[in-house]
């Protein structure tokens, strides 16, 4: 396993460098002088010159690129003028909120989507199957932020059961934190549940046709054990693939959902950065989110090896 991680990390390096390169290149797409755009036309020449130095615009292109790459490698994502602090701590401060939201959404997606998919496959063509397929179709078509607004209206305002906004740290008050995260994660998780249910269903349909399932049935094994112990375990790898794929979508969706539920996550940071033309923050978020995605994918690959001995031994 250790060897696997070492080899994987080395092979992922070029990908991470590319992500950093994309973030770096973005600044050079700014029409005109980024320093002037950031500070506005009223800025004094001294301040513009100072900003140019800070952004490294007074140095040659290649040198700027290498310096940026070296800085990122050392965890230095630049300095945000508008927050008056370094970019990395600003992002790290906000990231847990977005990650918690994304993780909880995925949790709902798995908790509801996997059993729904298994039952739908086991009772193909039945009412359950059609209900699952219909809700998964609806889930794929509903914009998550709109669903969030509707949830706020129905659950929060009409019934008044759950808080509709704000963030409580789970370390301070776990119960309140859970309540505050409930609606945001459900609104985002419902969309993902749809995809998980669909994928689980099609993977299970494939597996339930196999001979070993027939043998298990012939032995008189309880249906529940067959479905969840025998069949699902075999389908886990394809479900895991979907989970890794939708992680980027969940994180992206979390950025919008945060706005609706006033969660102080990465999304708010980025949207305000766009307003202030705070380029280092925008670049930094791309780098952090991109590399987070790469890491999640590596963990998924590691999980394949735990779940599936055939992959482990090959």
């Amino acid at each position: 396993m250790l060897k696997f991680f070492v080899v994987r990390s080395i092979s992922l390096l070029p990908l991470c460098v590319l992500i950093v390169t994309i973030a770096f290149t973005l600044l050079h797409l700014v029409p005109g002088d980024p320093a002037v755009v950031m500070l506005g036309i009223d800025a004094t020449p001294e301040r513009i010159a100072e900003m140019q130095t800070r952004l490294g615009l007074d140095r040659p292109f290649l040198e700027r690129y290498l310096v940026y790459l070296a800085n990122v490698a050392q965890g230095d994502l630049g300095y945000s003028n508008f927050l008056s602090k370094d970019v990395l701590p600003a992002i790290v401060e906000r990231l847990p909120v977005s990650l918690l939201l994304a993780a909880m959404s995925l949790f709902w997606a798995v908790l509801l989507g996997v059993p729904a998919g298994v039952f739908a496959a086991a009772h193909r063509g039945s009412l359950i199957d059609r209900a699952v397929m219909f809700s998964s179709l609806a889930g794929m078509s509903i914009p998550s932020f709109w669903f969030g607004l509707i949830l706020i209206m129905v659950v929060g305002v009409w019934f008044g059961v759950l808080p509709t906004g704000g963030y409580v740290s789970p370390f301070e008050n776990p119960w309140e934190a859970l309540k505050h995260m409930m609606l945001p994660s459900l609104s985002l998780g419902f969309i993902q549940m749809a995809q998980v249910a669909r994928m689980t269903r099609s993977a299970m349909l494939e597996i339930l046709r196999q001979d070993y399932i027939l043998v298990a049935r012939a032995k008189g094994m309880p249906e529940f054990t067959i479905l969840f112990n025998h069949a699902l375990r075999n389908g886990l790898t394809s479900i895991l693939t979907v989970l890794a794929l939708i992680f980027a979508e969940v994180l992206g969706g979390a950025l919008v959902t945060e706005q609706i539920f006033s969660l102080p996550g990465l999304g708010q940071l980025i949207v305000s950065a766009v307003g202030f033309r705070d380029y280092p923050v925008i670049q930094g978020s791309l780098v952090v989110v991109g590399i987070a995605y790469v890491l999640i994918n590596t963990l998924t690959d590691a999980a394949y090896r735990i779940i599936d001995p055939r992959i482990r031994d090959s």
């Binding site: 070029p14 990908l15 590319l18 992500i19 390169t21 994309i22 973005l26 600044l27 797409l29 700014v30 029409p31 179709l137 609806a138 794929m140 078509s141 509903i142 914009p143 932020f145 709109w146 607004l149 509707i150 706020i152 209206m153 305002v157 099609s202 980027a248 979508e249 994180l251 992206g252 969706g253 950025l255 919008v256 706005q259 609706i260 980025i270 949207v271 950065a273 766009v274 033309r277 380029y279 925008i282 670049q283 978020s285 791309l286 989110v289 991109g290 590399i291 995605y293 790469v294």
Partner: protein
């Protein structure tokens, strides 16, 4: 494969008609697109009030015969804004789809056809782009390029091109192994001829299916971006913008939020159905791909 064969024998238009008639999902998708498209194009004829017309006396009125979708906080007719908003969603969605499809498949086919180091490098770049959530990449690009409709389409296209490129590349790799491509090469066909006459026709069904999904993603993302205030700028009536205006008044005037959301839902549902239907009708091998 039978539907594809039927399609091959008939002329383009007749083939398309028989496709629509034979498949409920495709029919649903086409009907939704045609109805919303007509609403968008004919908006000035359909609505009774201009979308920007404010009326202090008619603030936050619930749906009635005069204002079938109600009015917003400025007394503007929500139905009129909805109809004009369909223009933004459809226009941005369709243009993004076109740009993504053309550029994405060009990159994918090129990469899969030449193989080797260029292929490896191109695909790594695509992977790097895919590691960044589409909406985040679009936000970043809009912040950098500046905010207007053209840049919105550019930003969304860049975010979705890698998806298409990867699928087109994968299929090109398989197809260019086929015997008939090899025989074309053997009789001396030039690469461009091979791509356009032998590879592209085989790829088209898959690309068509993906295009309809890209259209759907683009509609949702545009609404999300406009909702965040970085997409179509107010007072232009985009659906995301109307949603964002309405959220403050959700407790007292839910109709402002409900109708544009239903519009997005309908359009995306239609496109998803269209994509699923096309996949089943044109190429059963692709069913396992999504």
């Amino acid at each position: 494969m039978s539907a594809a064969q039927t399609l091959g024998r008939k002329s383009g238009f007749a083939g398309a008609l028989s496709l629509i008639r034979g498949n409920g999902q495709i029919l649903f998708g086409v009907v939704v697109l045609v109805v919303l498209g007509a609403l968008a194009v004919l908006a000035p004829l359909v609505v009774s009030y201009p979308p920007e017309l404010t009326s202090v006396m008619n603030r936050l009125k619930p749906p009635s015969l005069e204002h079938i979708f109600g009015t917003d906080a400025f007394g503007r007719d929500v139905f009129s804004r909805f109809a004009y908003g369909a223009r933004y969603s459809l226009l941005i969605g369709a243009t993004t789809m076109l740009a993504t499809t053309v550029i994405g498949s060009a990159i994918g086919i090129f990469s899969g056809y030449v193989r080797g180091t260029i292929d490896l490098m191109l695909m790594r770049v695509m992977e790097a782009f895919m590691a960044i959530p589409a909406i985040l990449l679009a936000i970043a690009l809009l912040a950098i390029l500046g905010n207007n409709l053209g840049n919105l389409v550019i930003a969304l296209s860049i975010a979705y091109i890698p998806r298409l490129a990867r699928i087109a590349r994968g299929l090109t790799l398989t197809i260019s192994e086929e015997l008939y491509v090899e025989s074309a090469r053997a009789v001396g066909a030039r690469p461009l001829r091979i791509v356009f006459h032998y590879i592209l026709p085989q790829l088209l069904p898959a690309i068509l299916v993906q295009s309809s999904f890209v259209f759907a993603y683009a509609v949702i993302s545009e609404a999300g971006l406009s909702f965040l205030g970085v997409g179509v700028q107010p007072p232009a009536p985009s659906w995301g913008g109307i949603l964002s205006d309405g959220r403050t008044y959700m407790a007292i005037a839910p109709w402002i939020t409900v109708f544009p959301g239903l519009g997005i839902l309908l359009i995306v549902l239609g496109l998803n159905q269209l994509g699923d239907g096309l996949r089943d009708a044109l190429d059963p091998r692709l069913r396992s791909l999504s």
